[in-house]
């Protein structure tokens, strides 16, 4: 799942967002300069022993449009979903799949049938028991076009049907082998909801979804907060959890504070206990503040990137693609734009993805000499009066199409790419437009570079972004997910083979080859992995990230206040 970050923009201003203007960034600085706010107000000692009770106030940037993560499927939904939903299976820090609501499972030799043996002691917070019929209701719900599921539904395109063998046994049938099935099932996007609640209209379920998780949603006050309270019956935590039984916290207040500097200042002042999407410019201040603790984790999937359109000139030429990638000084840009807080991503997979190989980390390193050599070989030997390279009288031009929800820091990053690739002779033209227009340009293949990323916990993401089946648009007027336009039968075959085996070492070897092909084809200029960045006030402990998507998990958290 990719996640557009909305930024408020002043009418008429180009790339400078209201939120990025200097007075905004400076609130923390201004604050400490004026009165030294939030310093030394209380002296609560951190206790290592969990305490039961209390309310945790969580502040995040974006409000979900629906609390049911099956519908649409944007990152803010899965962050809340993780607090009130359980999944069929769990995923540990190494990316291995473990039991959760399913105790065990068998996969048929042809990879088409998954038999899940379920726990029989679980019930949803509305009293409905969890059983095989619930599994069927959930998978059917995600696959139903009426649900409007972009993420969960998109991940289980192979799903055919579920047979309810008995209460504790569900048999799931797939159309084609899909070894990544268990991995995506571990994502909160595919969390299991009460089948009774799912029978209500979609928009009702959006507002008051029901799960079996450690908390339950009690109230959603739009544009303000969601309130969750402890599920006192909870006794089916995943093996990855640090304790069993009900959660420590009585209550969670999940607030929406859109403005990054206000969110951070609220944390410093102790007005909120945990903030999400800690702005990179505040990392240093947060580290120096003894009251605060940071959790920064990279998300698995395809890192933030500019994908090169190889279906038209000049990026139809591999040499030009490599030359472009090599002439962009991403390390330098990350240093100046993100204060070195974001590491470089060099390969098609984020290091947090299972089966990631570090071997391709340096294939994109800045190397202007090599770039110049490659461009000479590709025939772009002339320079015009402005210093850009030309071939047959045509200037070496590339267009990057950006929707206006692109964060301002990304614009700055690409301005730096523009400056460094210019030295190699590229004219990089940054075109900014409405998101809808940008989507249209994408559907029409009218771009050289499109920005994107994809958060998912499986290397199968390579199929979605580079597989030939994703070149075709989905539906009338739809757009393609394979933005590069890459089509290679041997790559497709590797990816399909990786889905046909459950053997981890075989999958690793196949995904290694797939990464090798994607990397050597220079289909993307990758920049940095997406990350989850939490700031935690001293009153709160035990906050962890659920590993499948690096999502906040408050089940093990407690507060001292």
């Amino acid at each position: 799942m990719r996640e557009p970050v909305p930024y408020l923009r002043l009418p008429g201003s180009r790339s400078r967002s209201l939120l990025k203007t200097t007075p905004f960034v400076g609130i923390a600085a201004l604050c400490s300069l004026l009165i030294g706010c939030g310093q030394g107000t209380s002296t609560v000692a951190r206790s290592d022993k969990p305490v039961s009770g209390g309310t945790l106030v969580y502040a995040t940037d974006r409000e979900p449009t629906c609390l049911d993560p099956h519908v649409a499927g944007d990152m803010p939904q899965v962050f809340i979903g993780q607090q009130y939903l359980d999944s069929l299976v769990s995923m540990d820090a190494e990316g291995r799949i473990g039991p959760w609501l399913a105790k065990s499972w068998e996969v048929s030799d042809d990879g088409l049938t998954y038999t899940f043996h379920l726990r029989n002691d679980v019930h949803f917070t509305d009293g409905t028991p969890f059983n095989a019929a619930a599994v069927k209701a959930n998978l059917d719900h995600m696959a139903n076009p009426k649900t409007q599921s972009s993420t969960a539904g998109g991940y289980i395109r192979q799903y055919r049907s579920t047979d309810v063998l008995d209460d504790d046994t569900a048999v799931v049938h797939l159309a084609t082998p899909y070894a990544a099935f268990l991995e995506v099932l571990a994502q909160g996007f595919l969390g299991i909801e009460s089948p009774t609640a799912l029978q209500r209209p979609r928009d009702v379920n959006c507002e008051s979804p029901v799960g079996s998780g450690p908390f339950k949603v009690v109230r959603w006050d739009r544009q303000s907060q969601v309130e969750l309270v402890r599920n006192p019956d909870y006794n089916w935590a995943p093996p990855t959890a640090k304790h069993q039984g009900p959660a420590w916290l009585d209550r969670i207040v999940w607030k929406f504070i859109q403005e990054p500097s206000v969110r951070f200042a609220s944390l410093q002042a102790g007005e909120v206990d945990v903030i999400e999407a800690l702005p990179p410019e505040s990392h240093e201040a947060a580290r120096r503040n003894p009251d605060l603790q940071l959790i920064i984790a990279q998300r698995p999937g395809n890192p933030t990137n500019g994908t090169l359109n190889i279906t038209r000139a000049p990026f139809d030429d591999l040499k030009v693609r490599e030359a472009f990638v090599r002439s962009a000084d991403i390390e330098g840009a990350l240093k100046s734009v993100y204060f070195n807080e974001f590491p470089r991503a060099g390969g098609p997979l984020s290091p947090a993805t299972r089966f990631y190989s570090p071997d391709f980390q340096h294939a994109q390193d800045y190397d202007p000499a090599r770039a110049a050599q490659l461009l000479d070989q590709a025939g772009w030997t002339q320079r015009d009066s402005d210093g850009y390279r030309t071939k047959n009288g045509k200037r070496l031009q590339v267009h990057v199409v950006m929707g206006n929800r692109t964060p301002p820091s990304e614009f700055t990053l690409w301005e730096q790419v523009q400056a460094t690739t210019r030295q190699a002779g590229f004219e990089l033209i940054v075109e900014q437009m409405s998101d809808v227009q940008a989507t249209k340009r994408q559907a029409d293949w009218d771009y050289d570079i499109r920005l994107g990323y994809w958060n998912t916990n499986t290397a199968d993401v390579l199929r979605i972004i580079f597989g030939s089946e994703f070149i075709r648009p989905a539906g009338v007027g739809g757009y393609h997910q394979n933005t590069a336009g890459f089509s290679d039968p041997s790559f497709d075959s590797l990816i399909q083979q990786a889905l046909a085996t459950q053997d981890a070492e075989q999958r690793r070897a196949l995904y290694y080859k797939a990464q090798q092909i994607a990397s050597s084809q220079y289909l993307q200029l990758t920049t940095y992995p997406q990350s989850t960045r939490l700031g935690i006030y001293k009153t709160t402990q035990g906050v962890r990230l659920e590993t499948s998507l690096a999502v906040t998990y408050l089940y093990d958290a407690w507060v001292n206040k």
Binding site: P6, L8, L18, T21, P23, G26, I27, L30, C31, L34, I35, C37, G38, A59, T65, V71, A72, G73, D74, P145, K146, Q148, S149, S150, T151, G153, G154, R157, R202, D203, C206, E207, R222, Q223, S224, K255, I257, Q258, E259, V262, A265, S266, Q268, A269, E271, S434, D435, V436, Q437, A438, T439, K440, Q442, R450, G452, I464, A474, G475, V476, G477
Partner: protein
């Protein structure tokens, strides 16, 4: 004979100036209301076509834009559900038909009926708008009535303060207020929309620049009024300076300020977009910003209509208030 019995008599009715004045006001209000309905229709139509004629498919925006991975069946189903498969004129006719019946449709992005979003989000914005306007006038009166026509430098300093505050951007002021009064002195909460305490800082952020604007025009006309012969007459009757200023001069001097307030309602609502984001308040401004981004047609039109209706009503009120404050306007009104 009392005035009540007098009004029952049709022959003397016309000669009753009070009733005539009321009738005139009523007619004027009716005309303005009819004009207002026309404005609302225009707003609905313009917004409809502006959003529909934008390149790109709203269904893709609903399903997450380039960030989603919906199946072809999901796209087809959503297109059908929102009636986007019908020709544009049919969509427009259907939309207007429902609008006339008071049905604003269901928001694509919020999964809620538009009327419910409006019901939940209008009050916080109205609250903010009114408290800002009231606060702005309080500041204006305090500043101008007490300083106009005083020694030269007093007026100069006050005038400079007004110009400066009129030029302050809302977001900058908002951040400053937050830093000092919410995070520094801890006097007010930094975020939220529950209770009067959360209203104070956002109201000041909106009121201070507005007060600067209104004070500038009010001061100018107050200065002129204080030079009028009738002020001199009042003073010679022995009225205190305070009474002269508040009872006599003010009534003349607030007129430009009042007509500016009609405009100010519009300015406050657009300022509310920024202010609601900074102070994490509920409200229409923030909602409108999100609705436009998501190409949420029903919600965008719904909010535009409410804002336009508020603007029309405010201007009618200002118009009537104008007549009430200054009876001289009666002649030109008829």
């Amino acid at each position: 004979m009392t005035s009540a019995s007098l009004s029952n008599d049709p022959s003397t009715n016309l000669s009753n100036p009070r009733r005539e004045r009321l009738q005139q006001l009523g007619r004027r209000a009716l005309w303005r209301l009819a004009g207002g309905v026309l404005v609302l229709w225009a707003v609905a139509t313009l917004t409809f076509f502006a959003l529909r004629l934008m390149p790109g498919d709203p269904v893709l925006a609903i399903l997450g834009g380039p960030s989603g991975n919906p199946t072809a069946e999901t796209i087809a189903e959503a297109t059908r559900e929102y009636g986007l498969d019908k020709p544009l004129p049919v969509q427009y006719a259907l939309y207007l038909g429902r609008l006339v019946q008071g049905d604003l449709g269901v928001s694509y992005s919020q999964h809620l009926p538009v009327t419910r979003v409006l019901a939940e989000q209008s009050w916080p914005t109205l609250e903010l708008t009114f408290s800002s306007l009231a606060l702005a006038w309080l500041l204006v009166l305090a500043l101008t009535v007490l300083t106009a026509g005083r020694r030269r430098w007093v007026g100069k300093v006050a005038s400079l303060a007004e110009t400066l505050s009129a030029a302050l951007p809302h977001f900058w002021l908002g951040i400053l207020l937050l830093a000092v009064f919410a995070f520094g002195l801890r006097l007010f909460p930094p975020a939220g929309s529950d209770g009067w305490r959360t209203l104070v800082l956002p109201s000041f952020a909106l009121a201070i620049p507005l007060a600067g604007f209104i004070a500038q025009v009010t001061r100018e006309s107050l200065d002129l009024t204080l030079d009028q012969p009738f002020i001199l007459t009042a003073r010679t009757r022995g009225l205190s300076d305070f009474k002269v200023r508040f009872k006599h001069a003010l009534r003349h001097a607030v007129l430009p300020g009042i007509s500016l307030s009609g405009w100010a309602i519009g300015a406050l609502i657009s300022g509310a977009v920024v202010t609601e984001v900074i102070f994490s308040r509920k409200g229409l401004g923030r909602q409108l910003f999100q609705a436009v981004q998501a190409q949420d047609l029903p919600l965008t039109i719904g909010i535009s209509l409410v804002v336009a209706a508020g603007y029309v009503l405010a201007n009618i009120l200002v118009d009537l208030l104008y007549l009430w404050v200054d009876p001289r306007q009666q002649g030109s009104a008829s």
